[in-house]
Amino acid sequence: AEDLTVGFAIAKSGWMEAYDTPAATAAMIRIEEINAAGGLLGRQIKVVEADTRTDRAESAKAGLDVLDHGAEMMVVSCDYDFGAPAALVAEGEGINSFFLCAEDVKAGIQGVGPNSFSSSVLASVQGATMAEWAHARRNARTAYVLEDTFIEYNKGICTGFNWMFPQLDGAGIVGSDTFKNDDASIASQITRIKALPEQPDVIMLCSVMPGAAAAVRQLRAAGITSLILNGSAVDGSYWLEATPDLSGFVVPVQGSIYGDDPRAEVEMFNKAYEAKTGGRPASQYAYPGYVLIDLWAKAVERAGTVDGAAVTAELEKMQDEPTAFGPRSFSSELHHQNTALMQIIEITGGKPARVDEWRISEPVPLDVLMGR
């Protein structure tokens, strides 16, 4: 049969490239697996690519470009802002679109339309996971929230944390502050923390690189020893040099890249990734790429077609659908994970390691996600 075309409208240059390439590589791994096993609906999957150059206008053009090359499903950038223009093009054609790893609730029905999905885990879930886990396992009762206003993802983490933490027994947020990712110094923010009568048990840092690494270094340099929490965005050991011998830093991830994930499939994937690229994944952001192809392919098999609406209907039927990185669910209200089993990675003495896993006790409600 004729090939089935999947279009990748992703960043192959500019700063998003660092996120998009690993996830796209992971997606390719799953595609190759499927092709090796005989393809999808008996058709081999063919991939066409276009570069968004980390630019919104180019993103829309990239979307059109892959459509012109016959794409029947579209994979778009890892971030909502840079993926949405392309995803909207797909939506206009009635085909499915998947964000590689966007974690803003708008990457789906709310911000694109009924046929758009993201297989990653919402930023708010990451924040809420940190809140509940730190409360339960580290006895955190006081928290300080430090929000980087750079991108919506950061705000999402803080939203989740701010929702969950105060609900917990005896826990309270003792202060909060904001900074900008490219601030040359966050000395004033640190001074404010140090002026607290008592150091907080945890500091919820809602930030991404490079600001997150800079903030951690400055916090520790100022002698603040509280446990620091963040979202998945800072997973990976590549940035740890910034604060030698860092300890007491925790992030939630979908799977561990450090070889210690209790699920064998995760390590199998890491090996496959290494075989394909010559190196292990640098962060957990490869995983959602693999998951999205996996889920979409299943839905296509079940629907027996690649037609957008039919596949969407199948995807929305998925409740705790097993994947290598934990179960995934979609509904007609949310095309994103508002709860997930997350691995907890802690950095101690400059070494990251999986220490625990956690699933929040209650999904983050839609109202909270939508900022209401």
Partner: protein
């Protein structure tokens, strides 16, 4: 608390001041607003690590001991700036200030993309002089050692430059060439050499900023330096065109204002910090259009 805040303000202001000096030096000599200055900073930062697009950064030059590393990076910054002058700006001598500015911007874009190609888009971690991050106690304040060093370094650089410009031959020639290039040459000033000198100094200032930034934040990112460059540019104008000490003072003032706003604004208004800051800039300009520290007679007489 307030002493602590003073240190915060001085340290941030100090970084802006050195950056502003780098911008003002070239602006003074060539009427060029060098938008590539931010990329000079980024290049000086990336010079510390081995070129590679891997996620994990490997220190190259950055491993050298400080007494070797510092002069080397300063020289690199200076060399880059001098090369930029020779290859781009010297050929644009007759262009208008706007054209020069756009040219410098294009140069910045080229440099940034070159860094992207060579090092990849992912921010990298660079552990430089981690030991400077230890806090020291000064009266009621606990200040990271690095902050102190920044403050002292800025003070020293400024003093040295002020002396250089006011009291040395080269300083005088720089200021003369800044005003009327050909006339200065007609008086025997080796103008190209003077301009190269200004660029070298400016590039070295970019390198100083780079080292301070890396030591402070521990990261290297291709976009770093951009925001600092803009603040420095604003400081140059707010300080008073053509006044180097004005640029420095305004750099300090903007940094300090930013730190004080961050400390003083209510939580809800804090994300809007920069809006207040820039509103203040407009206000200052309206009150003193020629800049806070404009030299006497800077306002052209009729």
């Amino acid at each position: 608390m307030s002493l602590q805040l003073l240190f915060d303000a001085l340290a941030l202001g100090g970084i802006y001041a050195i950056a502003a000096l780098g911008i003002a030096l070239i602006f003074g000599v060539m009427r060029l607003v060098n938008f590539a200055h931010g990329q000079f900073i980024a290049c000086a930062v990336f010079a510390l690590i081995v070129p590679s697009t891997d996620a994990l950064a490997v220190l190259g030059l950055g491993r050298l001991p400080a007494p070797v590393l510092i002069p080397l990076i300063l020289a690199l910054g200076a060399g880059l700036a001098v090369a930029a002058e020779a290859l781009v700006f010297r050929l644009m001598r007759n262009a208008s200030p706007v054209a020069l500015m756009v040219g410098s911007f294009a140069l910045g874009v080229a440099l940034q993309n070159l860094l992207l190609v060579v090092y990849g888009g992912r921010p990298k971690a660079v552990s430089l002089w981690a030991e400077l991050s230890h806090p020291v106690q000064i009266a009621s304040a606990e200040v990271p050692l690095l902050q102190l060093i920044v403050i002292v370094t800025v003070a020293m650089i400024l003093a040295a430059l002020a002396i250089m410009l006011r009291h040395t031959r080269l300083g005088l020639e720089m200021r003369a060439a800044a005003e009327d290039f050909t006339m200065a040459r007609m008086l025997g000033v080796r103008a190209n050499r003077v301009i190269s000198g200004a660029f070298a100094l400016s590039g070295a200032m970019a390198a100083v900023v780079a080292l301070v930034l890396v030591a402070q934040t521990g990261v290297a990112d291709v976009r770093m330096g951009g925001q600092i460059m803009l603040v420095a540019f604003i400081a140059t104008v707010v300080g008073g065109m053509g006044s180097l000490s004005g640029a420095v003072a305004a750099g300090l003032a903007i940094g300090a204002a930013s730190a004080f706003l961050q400390a003083g604004l209510p939580a809800d208004a804090r994300p809007f910090r920069d809006a207040f800051l820039y509103g203040g800039v407009i206000l200052v300009l309206l009150i003193r259009p020629q800049g806070l520290f404009a030299p006497v007679g800077a306002k052209p007489r009729v």
